[in-house]
Symmetry: C2
Subunit: 309 residues, 2 copies
């Protein structure tokens, strides 16, 4: 896809600015040979502030030598504002992508967006489908058969994008609506997630991973991806991707333990470390006196007798 | 199963006391012709308070004329205390059930337990299996092939059991460990759930239903339970149970909307009301200018053109 054009959605916030400057950096280093067109959509929801965001993105585009298209929203105040804004923004992105015969569209969604969306849907009660994660790559829309790609989704936190901008000495804009507690997404970000982090400091990542596992669970071909054997051969585990590995390990543990009650991400991550570590004979303890050990190139499941001598 | 024996697990808390008195009430009214044996397990974790709980249950059993068996725990302080206590308690229940040749075991889990467990597992990261609900009926254990039944699980909140005890003028015990914020389950109950209820006053029920839907999703036979047709015949919808109906409606909506993005429990509940209401021609609005209407004995899906005239 050398020299193909990608549309990059840039609001001016830390996440999209970090995405843009990292793409331009990769291009400068000749690791990517692509053309980027910045698409900035002014929702016109915050009057002067919106206009200042647009001016900021105009300057950013100049600085990085990128083509820029600015769209202007004239949004209906009826209905769910977030939903109305999203629809208008994606219509704009689709239009620009079609006009530029783009190969794909890039957005700067982070782990935070994944977890916030999961929690919004959980609280609202949208059921298993709503809790299934955003995908890193999906078709842009029914009509437009190009990929929508979210390169940061599975690994970058919002704070990482802020730090990256600071490191590169590039300012970004702060959307005042992101501070307004009348929006439930803002309360999720500023109150709920910090509370969840008092239970588990990694709650943000944990919930995003859970959402990814749901998405994986729901993909039709999971059942046929891998047969689960009694012992797992290490050499067959080292090269599969993380999500597949986690799903495989979870199924393998479920098979041996009867259920996954009490078994958490930390256990699966422990087994993952066991797989990649150099030492042999190490062990991951599981609840109910069960464990997984590594021996002679295999992972073995061990269950101790519940009765103590 | 006339005159069969059921073991009723009674801690002395509002939930198990409410379960017991309602069972005895049903027996007195001859709506149930069963024998109940109260099983009370003293975990011996709270010294004098534990003993007072036991005395209280002894008196309760006398008052209601039920057989009572009291077990005494001598728990290891190693490991996860909640888990250790649970294992010991269920071992005791299984032993008593076997000794009495019981037909089943009843526990007083409520909607609150369902939601608290879901949130505990979500925060801990136990993946889709952990988020799948407790079932209302399951086999007691691998060894003991009798049902464990949780009659209150799908409809009673903890506060309902408290109110029921008050109405019946029967006291219950308050476990001081249920007030101790060092336990994450207590913080979930006293801090997290009240916060979630500021987003959605029905968060407790909503999350419990979500957990039930996951459990249903995961049951193997879902795919074959019902074919989804283009229009849904009302006469075929009125007699199926709620969970099946919800799953069916969600699949039907997903088929028509492309995905379930933006579609929540309130929409499904709205359609449920549409099904049972007497009036015809009514409509449930969905996001993105879509709706479901009732006409001539069928549910129809309607999508309006997004462009306004």
């Amino acid at each position: 896809m050398k020299n193909e054009t990608f549309i990059v959605a840039v609001s001016g916030g830390a996440d999209s600015v970090a995405l843009l400057i990292s793409l331009c950096e990769l291009k400068r280093l000749k690791k990517l040979e692509l053309e980027f067109v910045i698409a900035h959509f002014n929702h016109n929801l915050r009057n002067q502030e919106s206009d200042e965001d647009s001016k900021y993105v105009v300057n950013l585009a100049k600085e990085f030598g990128c083509k820029l298209v600015v769209g202007n929203g004239n949004l209906s105040k009826k209905g769910n504002l977030e939903e109305v804004a999203r629809i208008a923004r994606y219509e704009f992105l689709g239009k620009i992508a079609a006009e530029h015969k783009a190969f794909g569209v890039l957005t700067a969604h982070t782990i935070n967006d994944q977890t916030e969306t999961f929690l919004m849907n959980l609280i609202r009660g949208s059921g298993p489908e709503g809790l299934s994660a955003m995908k890193q790559v999906r078709q842009f829309s029914e009509k437009l058969e190009i990929p929508l790609v979210r390169p940061l989704l599975n690994w970058a936190k919002r704070v990482d994008t802020e730090n990256y901008c600071h490191e590169k000495n590039i300012e970004y804009r702060n959307d005042s609506m992101n501070e307004n507690l009348k929006y439930s997404r803002v309360r999720i970000r500023k109150i709920l997630i910090p509370l969840l982090e008092t239970f588990n400091p990694k709650a943000l990542q944990t919930i995003a991973k859970t959402a990814s596992l749901f998405q994986f669970e729901r993909s039709e071909n999971e059942q046929t991806l891998f047969p689960v054997t009694n012992e797992l051969k290490l050499s067959e585990l080292v090269n599969i991707d993380k999500l597949t590995l986690y799903a495989l390990l979870r199924r393998w543990l479920a098979l041996h333990c009867g259920s996954l009650r009490g078994i958490g991400l930390k256990h699966v991550e422990g087994i993952e470390r066991l797989i990649v570590s150099e030492k042999s004979g190490r062990e991951v303890e599981l609840p109910r006196f069960q464990s997984v050990i590594k021996r002679n190139g295999f992972l073995l499941f061990r269950k101790q007798n519940l009765k103590k001598p």
